[in-house]
Symmetry: C2
Subunit: 304 residues, 2 copies
């Protein structure tokens, strides 16, 4: 039976410039991308902070997807803002502006009604806050988390304490190499799994995803698209589809994990097709299933 998912992370206004256009102050942030993607699979409970400038129309985007917003607190001040620009081939981006605003003092309090959540995703926030969140959860079944080079470089001990409590770490390939201090990805993955997570998911952008679980490895490609408009949030959207599919199946097997990786990749492939959450927030379930089948066609070959 489908279980529910708790996500803690950022809700932000993003200003994005890509070779294909510009969009200002659109709804973004890790918890936003995650929760909308996950909502197609399982009930989602959101913990984040926004400012007084966060309007009802924005809250409506979550409500439309039955995302529980009891944990969305409104603080004095402005909502987190991020601005970035992508290179011509979308493989590099530079941050033009970061205004943490109310996010700077984010100290997530998990509402009582959320504390029995079995599936937990800790978005990319201070590893000390991630740890505090876990102290508030009663009996989690699967805990996944994200992090970034900023925390690897600045709060490694805190990060390792958090990782010791986590089942699944979802990071990109350069973070994997940096966290393990090893250039070979397989060796790096094996080392990171010793820190705690029994599963490591390495996101490689247009090159897809590698999942390491003990001694087994699963490789999934990214869906080759002719038109990619905005990669912002693709990683969080992936994580949302992945955790959503896990919570929906509510069973921990290698086959379920592999299918969840494909569902995550499916959701990420939709995310990049339009700016912000424009594409993912308008999906229909048959579109998701159709693209899942296309992933099968993309990767299938006959046995010997």
């Amino acid at each position: 039976m489908t279980s529910s998912i708790l996500v803690v992370g950022s809700v932000a206004f993003d200003s994005v410039k890509t070779p294909f256009g510009v969009d200002d102050e659109i709804l973004g942030g890790s918890a936003t991308h995650f929760s909308i993607a996950a909502s197609y699979f399982a009930p989602v409970r959101l913990v984040a902070v926004v400012g007084k400038d966060f309007g009802n129309s924005h809250v409506e985007v979550f409500r439309k997807h039955n995302i529980d917003t009891d944990g969305l607190s409104v603080a004095d001040g402005r909502t987190f803002r991020w601005a970035g620009e992508y290179s011509f081939d979308l493989n590099d981006r530079k941050t033009l502006d970061t205004q943490l605003n109310v996010f700077e003092k984010f100290d997530p309090v998990i509402p009582e009604s959320y504390r029995s959540s079995e599936y937990v995703f800790l978005g990319n926030i201070d590893p000390e806050l991630q740890y505090n969140v876990l102290q508030q959860i009663r009996n989690p079944r699967v805990i996944a988390c994200d992090t970034m080079n900023f925390w690897i470089e600045g709060k490694l001990d805190s990060l390792k304490r958090t990782l010791s409590k986590v089942d699944i770490l979802v990071i990109n390939d350069s973070e994997t190499r940096e966290l393990a201090r090893l250039s070979n990805l397989v060796k790096a993955a094996n080392k990171i799994m010793e820190f705690g997570p029994k599963t490591l998911i390495v996101k490689r952008g247009e090159n897809g995803v590698l999942m390491f679980r003990g001694k087994t490895i699963f490789a999934a490609p990214a869906y080759p698209l002719e038109d990619i408009y905005d990669p912002t949030g693709a990683g969080d959207t992936f994580a949302g589809g992945f955790m959503g599919a896990l919570a929906q199946a509510n069973e921990v097997t290698d086959a379920i994990f592999r299918r969840a990786i494909i569902f995550g990749s499916v959701m990420a492939s939709f995310n990049v097709e339009k700016f912000g959450v424009d594409r993912v927030s308008e999906l229909k379930r048959p579109e998701i299933e159709e693209r899942f089948k296309q992933f099968k066609a993309l990767t299938h070959f006959e046995e010997l």
Copy 2:
């Protein structure tokens, strides 16, 4: 019934430096890596030129794999030499030295006994020479070729003339973008297929391979290895395994092409495990089949 393969390309002495060691003047070159890999699947006929310094012990490496060396001509002078050094993560390399020697005047003449070859691989040489080779072949069934940025930039018209006669082009991702003058890989692939090749295979190093055939795409990962010693020749080894598997099946279907891509990836994964051809020239067929199965385990997921 298995058909035979004609390969035209370079035979060289490589001096390679990687973070894991140095090896000087070892047997290398596109036709060398290709033919040894292909020899596990089908009879191979080699066309290349070497110098007077190319000893019997080197010829023996080919003979041991039943590679036909009637087309290996010995010219006055020294064999082609290449020296290169890899970065710490093996993803970049710089060429330290290139001495074309006898390869500079290479003008391949196809022996009469080779002219009925049905499977043809044109290694990365001057596209005018590639075209001349094709004029000498009677009734080829599948023609594949490689090229590089040097020819894309310097001999584009000749290259396009060659491509108009070719069934399969095997190049890397940056060559794909450069040849099509498009940054999106799917768009670039579609444009290149209009130049002639009905199949485009894009090699992406540690990120695997994409095969475009008409409207279908097949994605295969690279095999994640803990120990990579020398990537030199991985692309040609891939092409050898791919063309070998095609010639062995001797049937042109999408399923056969997909399995051939996996066999190519299998052979490339062995190639990088030791310097030069040390690993691939010592393989046993069961090892190849075992790694093919590991590729299945690496990519398999259940349908909906």
